[in-house]
């Protein structure tokens, strides 16, 4: 494989995030999972509390549910979901800490608490793996930035090419907008145009 031209920095601001569909697909899945779990916590706190062996903690589960929904929406809406996934990891830790209370010997549903902790531990592992993968993609992207600022494609600097085609080109009649709609205004054009 042959790589053509690459140059130095052009001073443009660059995104720290690489579009990587597979990694982002997993992150998106975690986002939807978060929303689903959050809705369950908010809408069925008593059922959830019984299942995880924490009766009486319905309000805590409601709050956790709201947190899960917020995190899920954040993951789905952010271009870079990595911080939100780390947020999920922190939430997992909080969940585990809360579930510890259910491990006391007199809890009649201690086994439910243990099952819940096992499930949280497993999803924590997925969260950590996903966040790590997102970080690796971002770092790879930052390392690989290739500057194409020497690829104007014109024989002269771009600002000198403004309108260069007009001396030998007229917009065909079927591509022209109605005369009454043009031109728009008589705005001032700085010398050399607005090309950067």
């Amino acid at each position: 494989m042959e790589m053509l031209h690459s140059g130095g920095s052009n001073g443009l601001r660059s995104s720290p995030v690489a579009p990587s569909p597979r990694v982002h697909l997993v992150a998106g899945g975690l986002g939807w999972f978060s929303i689903g779990l959050g809705l369950a916590g908010c809408l069925m706190p008593q059922t959830m509390a019984r299942a995880v062996g924490l009766p009486g903690k319905e309000n805590v589960l409601r709050a956790f549910g709201a947190r899960e929904i917020a995190t899920g929406v954040g993951i789905l809406m952010a271009r870079d979901p990595e911080p939100w996934i780390w947020g999920r990891v922190a939430g997992d830790m909080l969940n585990l800490g809360t579930l510890m209370a259910g491990l006391r010997a007199d809890n009649p549903n201690r086994s439910g608490t243990m099952m819940a902790m096992l499930a949280v531990a497993q999803i924590t592992a997925v969260d950590v793996a996903s966040a790590g993968a997102l970080r690796r993609v971002r770092e790879a992207r930052e390392r690989r930035f290739i500057d194409y600022s020497d690829r104007g494609g014109f024989s002269k600097p771009a600002w000198e090419m403004r309108g260069a085609a007009l001396s030998s080109f007229e917009t065909p009649a079927d591509f022209r907008i109605p005369e009454a709609l043009r031109p728009w205004d008589k705005g001032e054009i700085p010398a050399g145009g607005l090309y950067v």
């Binding site: 790589m3 053509l4 995030v17 579009p19 271009r79 085609a165 022209r176 043009r182």
Partner: protein, 389 residues
């Protein structure tokens, strides 16, 4: 011969297939010397275009040497070096005579399928599903070119493949996108997408005299190339597109907007793009219309929207209120390639523009399947892949 063949979603393979044969007197067989992967090939790769079948040969950007000519083809002769436009045109029908080549009424041999899909058939295209005729594409060692006495553009000596290959699609596509805007000297032209078509749209808008050209994307290397071509850039990961466009246009909005993205717009921070992604995943819509929505919202009233980006099916939640009340005009369509090729070839010959600036990777046919993934994922600084069969 060897060719890149479609075998399903995300499954392109380099296969051995039968050599093409002359089927009609107007045909020619072209030995491909250079071809390219187009952004719209990715819609097939990602499974968003219906009408693909196992074994279909990919590719609609190619050029090469004529090695065989049909009996009634008096335009070409063996040895001619040609660029072949991606639209197959008869040159005789009512639409072709009007210069509306991409809606040629004769070249789509699967007219019945296209009539059902789009209401009316459009032109046949190379390597672009059976809705557009099911013609074998150009990512191969040889291609049969139907109506070869009309479409192929003869290339004079002294120009490299890399300089002229893109006359078959992306250069005229970017050019037509800008021409559709009927650019005035006071215009700001905003272009969504800094992929290959977006790059040519930027340069075309500059050549056609736009006061200001703005290009919107989130891939730093693509933005650096658009910047080199004369565009002010907006990285939508880092700033609000709407706010920045207002700022750059004194609050009035760009007069002309070009969608060089199409049906696979990225999921951004906006709620509508998340909605699109979810709905597409549930197969409740086929195309993600984030760019169309943003253009309709931000375009200056009475402005023009030009859409070279490919859409294949249905979109949802278009702000028709904004579109109608602002009196916007939308110009769309596949490119009428032959309408622009002579003029653009002349500009290349005169040195006004060298389209090879966009090439970032040159590979063999065998490396093609891997390059589809590299191009799709925008890895390794990939903007345009040229394949040498």
């Amino acid at each position: 011969m060897r060719a890149l063949c479609w075998h399903g979603k995300k499954d392109i393979r380099c296969d051995n297939v039968p050599d093409p044969q002359i089927e009609d007197g107007r045909d020619a067989i072209v030995k491909v010397t250079s071809c390219a992967i187009c952004g719209s090939d990715l819609h097939l790769f990602d499974g968003f275009m219906p009408g693909m079948e196992h074994g279909d040969i990919m590719g609609h950007e190619f050029m090469g040497e004529v090695v065989e000519v049909g009996a009634s083809n008096s335009k070409l002769k063996v040895g001619d070096r040609v660029v072949v436009p991606f639209t197959i045109v008869c040159g005789d029908c009512e639409q072709c005579r009007r210069g509306h080549f991409s809606v040629c009424e004769r070249s789509n041999r699967n007219k019945e399928i296209a009539d059902k899909a789009f209401g009316h058939a459009t032109a046949g295209l190379f390597g672009f599903s059976h809705i557009t005729g099911g013609y074998p594409g150009g990512q191969a060692e040889y291609v049969r070119v139907p109506y070869a006495d009309v479409g192929p553009v003869k290339i004079p000596d002294g120009l490299t493949d890399e300089q002229v290959l893109f006359l078959g699609d992306i250069f005229p596509t970017g050019w037509q996108a800008a021409v559709q805007c009927d650019i005035q000297p006071e215009d700001t032209v905003a272009i969504w997408g800094a992929g290959p078509v977006g790059q040519f749209a930027v340069r075309s808008a500059v050549l056609l005299g736009a006061r200001q050209v703005i290009c919107i994307d989130n891939v730093p290397e693509r933005l650096s190339m658009a910047h080199a071509g004369g565009a002010t850039t907006i990285n939508f990961d880092e700033e609000s597109v709407l706010d920045r466009l207002k700022e750059l246009t004194r609050g009035k909005g760009p007069e002309k907007c070009i969608d060089a993205v199409g049906m696979e717009a990225h999921v951004t921070r906006s709620i509508d793009s998340v909605y699109d992604r979810a709905k597409q995943a549930l197969m409740l819509e086929s195309d993600r219309a984030h760019v169309l929505r943003e253009m309709m919202y931000v375009c200056r009233p009475a402005g023009v929207l030009s859409v070279p980006g490919v859409y294949g099916g249905l979109v949802d939640k278009l702000p028709m209120g904004a579109f109608m009340n602002k009196g916007l005009t939308m110009r769309t369509g596949q490119t009428h390639v032959n309408r622009w090729t002579d003029d653009l070839l002349k500009r290349i010959q005169e040195g006004q523009i060298d389209p090879s600036f966009v090439i970032t990777h040159t590979v063999s046919l065998e490396e093609g399947p891997e390059m589809y993934k590299t191009f799709r994922d925008k890895l390794d600084g990939c903007i345009k892949v040229v394949i040498k069969p």
